[in-house]
Symmetry: C2
Subunit: 284 residues, 2 copies
Amino acid sequence: MNFTREKKVLIVGLGLLGGSYAMALTRKDYSVRAIAHRQETIDFALQRGIIEKGTTEVTKEFVEWADIIVFGLYPHIFKEWIKKYQSYFKSGAIITDVTGIKGNFVREIQGMLRADVEYIPAHPMCGKEVSGVENADDKIFAGANYLVTPTEKNSKEAIEICRDLGWILGCYRVVEIDIDKHDEVIGFVSQLTHCIAITLMTCNEEEHLEKFTGDSFRDLTRIARINEIMWSELFIDNKQALIKQMKEFSAQFNKIEELIENEDAEGLKEIMRRSTERRKLFDK
Amino acid sequence: MNFTREKKVLIVGLGLLGGSYAMALTRKDYSVRAIAHRQETIDFALQRGIIEKGTTEVTKEFVEWADIIVFGLYPHIFKEWIKKYQSYFKSGAIITDVTGIKGNFVREIQGMLRADVEYIPAHPMCGKEVSGVENADDKIFAGANYLVTPTEKNSKEAIEICRDLGWILGCYRVVEIDIDKHDEVIGFVSQLTHCIAITLMTCNEEEHLEKFTGDSFRDLTRIARINEIMWSELFIDNKQALIKQMKEFSAQFNKIEELIENEDAEGLKEIMRRSTERRKLFDK
């Protein structure tokens, strides 16, 4: 384990994910401090004992204390923060984040970052339909995949530390994945599913659907309760990959519609058998 | 309660749902017998004590014993059964079913049925991704909606008995709904969701998706493990309503794609806010 207990951790942005990181790290006896936008956030985190110290003011003293800095901010705020405050980092600091998309965004930050500080991008595949430190919960990591997306700029040591962080959080699996491939896969498994959920929740004006629904509809729309500020930004930042996935989805959806239109039971059964086979892999 | 314990219940077709009905009714001290296709099904149900008697042979004696007959068969087999054996029913018998679509199908059966026997259509909004009496479980009714779809041919008494059945099973809510409206709503909340799930599971050739997925993808594809014989039949039988729903879904999905293409964050946020508002109703 390269991520030893001597490493001091600063969380910047103490929302649902940042708060959950703080909780997991504190539970495992790491020193965790935080910078947040609102004083109530800090007060709540202190009261719950998930950070040892916190502030709403970004000062050199507070930032240079940390060996590892985890950013839990919206992508565009993360970028602005780096521009404004990167001179405060301790030389040799390692920064990482929880941002669900990578690609261009990571290259921009790595491109502007000081040479003596390293940014290793990563994020856990988990979350909740609610936000804020009040809803933080380190149980969200149980069963979750933790994705690390190094670029050619990353050192072996930073990758190791970042992988360790995934295990410390309590994730089920730590996976390294090529950064462009990552955005494609995320466009599919995460963003496309959110697009589908919000479509389903808004394409029909029927009132009181809750009286008629079964678990299927409830499951498919759980994520239709969505943080619109974050997700609209993520969708647009990963536009190219997401639209490619949406088009592939539509093509297959139209094919199924055609089979129903033509009452082609055999064609439908074939797709359903393939669907069943592929889905079984998830229940192993 | 019109569905008193004196009423004798025959289940025809002892699969996942038929078996779960048997379990719930037996637990509440009703006399339950069953007709199934395979002897192993009967043996299993007898051994588990969820029926008092069972047979694979359809005889007049066995059928005329029952006051209430519940059909848990595929739609086309249900129709064939009625044609072939309806002379066996006791005069005054009430029959009902678990079929997820109604409309034309119900009218066909009511049209051919003896005048002294009444068919009151209904079904619970629940199920599992697995089939067969071995997977029967009367806990599936907890939290489920039970839908009754009477036609002009139904008597007040039969409707009452059928509603009682929903409560006896342990359903959370018993809802009466117009039969044509029913197929439209089911096309939306149940069939469209299954179409989406199988599309999502088959539109991408990526291997080992399970390494990258979070709960969103898992939730949206839970029902992608699907009984292809039953669902291809249900889709085609409810073709008109389902295709209408698929087209509405596609229109909204395309609209969201366009907003992303145009980087229209405000337009996306507006849809997401509506989605969040509508979804909240389900968590009450």
